[in-house]
Symmetry: none
Subunit: 193 residues, 4 copies
């Protein structure tokens, strides 16, 4: 049973979609309004200004990461566990592409925005650290492993891949997640044993 979208949602959805496709600057308020099927000035009645739209998105997505993380079920095997994390995170990036892209492309213009965006990987890092510490305790990974560096390292790996994928789609540089995970994440995991 399809819910009727509120005006807020219509605007936010349109914004997110355009953001992903065209970046922040190119996403004009006129285009947003058009895509949302509302008047341009309605947009300003609902959101103080263009920046507010981003803030709203960030907030919305911040809560999603907790949900995503809750979906993780430890298997006891480091390789499959890390691959599961990669899978979850990759899908999260895919789902929230718009925000990640804006984080890369436009956050420079908006220092505040950068602060907000950075919270996503930071939150993931925290989660990873706690998981790895757990795995260390259970002997799943070697006790000599520096958990902090390794977590950062791992995030760099999968986030870097997700980004590159999005940037270089259809250029011959893109490489399927399967291939990438198979080779790199597996290697990475093995190394921790």
């Amino acid at each position: 049973m399809a819910q009727k979208l509120t005006t807020d949602e219509k605007i936010l959805n349109a914004f997110s979609k355009l953001l992903e496709e065209n970046g922040y600057t190119e996403t004009t308020t006129k285009k947003i309004a058009q895509a949302a099927g509302v008047n341009e000035s309605t947009l300003f009645r609902h959101f103080k200004d263009k920046e507010q739209l981003v803030k709203e998105l960030v907030q919305k997505y911040m809560s999603d990461i907790d949900t995503a993380n809750a979906g993780f079920i430890a298997s006891g095997d480091i390789v499959s566990d890390l691959m599961q994390v990669a899978e979850i995170y990759n899908q999260f990036v895919e789902t929230h592409k718009a925000l990640f892209l804006i984080g890369m492309r436009d956050s420079f213009q908006f220092p505040k925005l950068k602060e907000m965006i950075i919270q996503l990987p930071m939150k993931l890092k925290k989660i990873l650290i706690s998981r790895m510490t757990e795995m260390k305790r259970s002997g799943e990974i070697n006790e000599l492993v520096n958990v902090d560096i390794t977590a950062a390292n791992y995030i760099t790996l999968i986030l870097g891949h997700a980004l590159i994928q999005n940037i270089y789609t259809g250029t011959g540089l893109d490489i399927s997640q399967t291939d990438f995970v198979q080779k790199n994440v597996r290697n990475f995991a093995e190394y921790l044993k």
Copy 2:
């Protein structure tokens, strides 16, 4: 003894700097001219377009990558060879940060920009492929390795890292090149043996 900069160079330098700081759209021709200390119309006398400025940068950097690549000296050991490549590329990215950032942030909005920017990683890929094919012949790497995919894979790895470094500098997510290369590139290389 300090060389006097030509107007071309002054403009290009100012452009590159602003590009890095603010992105393509935000880098207005007026600001470029101001930063370069020339009149705005002088800019258009020297470079037909704003786009032309990017083309010029790309061309300039394209030749730099050849120089950088020429500095590579094969050691016969796959691990140290790939690490050497990583080192070279990472430094290249650092040096030409402006272009890589624009490649990520703005090429979406401007298909023409994308075409230009994509040439850089593609060139690196070509170089890598020829190197790996060579290594395959010499038995340095396993003959079952799919050179094309592996090259893309490797670029994703180090380019991804370079990107994340630039984006998340000073956020606790940044991880030194040494650490990253030590762990990931080494793993990667081992796998090819």
Copy 3:
């Protein structure tokens, strides 16, 4: 009782006036806005383009010509009929001076403008041809007359006069419509009998 002008009308009026005085290129959007008493950007909200302004004028005048033409009442005498046409058209040119001048001056530089402007005389030609064909049937004019050429010929005559009048007003070259019609149109008509 004075009607309040809509913004559209204010802009179009200002445009028409400036066009007549200064030509298309010299009539800048800033000047138009100023003369109309609106902001320059308002102009672009109302008319997509500077070109659109011309299109609008043409359309407006195209309908006027129909009205003018509807006022024609055939007398059965070729001489007075053609003179009536001359009268109607001359007044039409006078009223819509702006467009005719732009047709002459600027359409060269802007092929698109030319296409639009040419519609006016072409429409008149059509009207003339149908009238003459009618007159031919009724025996008012000789059946050997080539209607197409004669129509073009006639338009050249009265349009040419109208142009010269507008260009060379007050130079001693201007000759009243009465005199011109008396001599030339009358001759022309006689010849068709």
Copy 4:
């Protein structure tokens, strides 16, 4: 034996050609210099400013009209004499198209320019009046004819035609000079007998 063109001539020729094709405003100093094969600033060394170029053209053409007029040889028959005048003048307009067009299109913006351009038809009018007065004396034309009005009338006729031809070339409104002269000038002449 081909004369080497002076820089002055090269510039003036290029200007005249571009003027005819594109009108005054569209004929930029850059294009003129390019077409003349000289540096843009050379142009300003030779001619104080853009307006000066027009003045120069006018002066040059003013002397040509005397030459053209000198070519007239009275036949004693009013019809063929006026047709001869039409022929001469029409060719003159054709040859100096650039100036006539600028006279129509751009003189509005430059009152000074208008003054200059108007001299051409005025001079023709003078010539015509003296010729007609002569014809009147010789009985070639009726002594009741108002020479002043008739001269203006005649100029309107052939100048109007020449203009229309140039404006509406290739639009179905253009009518060959032969046809026009055959019908209108002949009529005109007959009427003077």
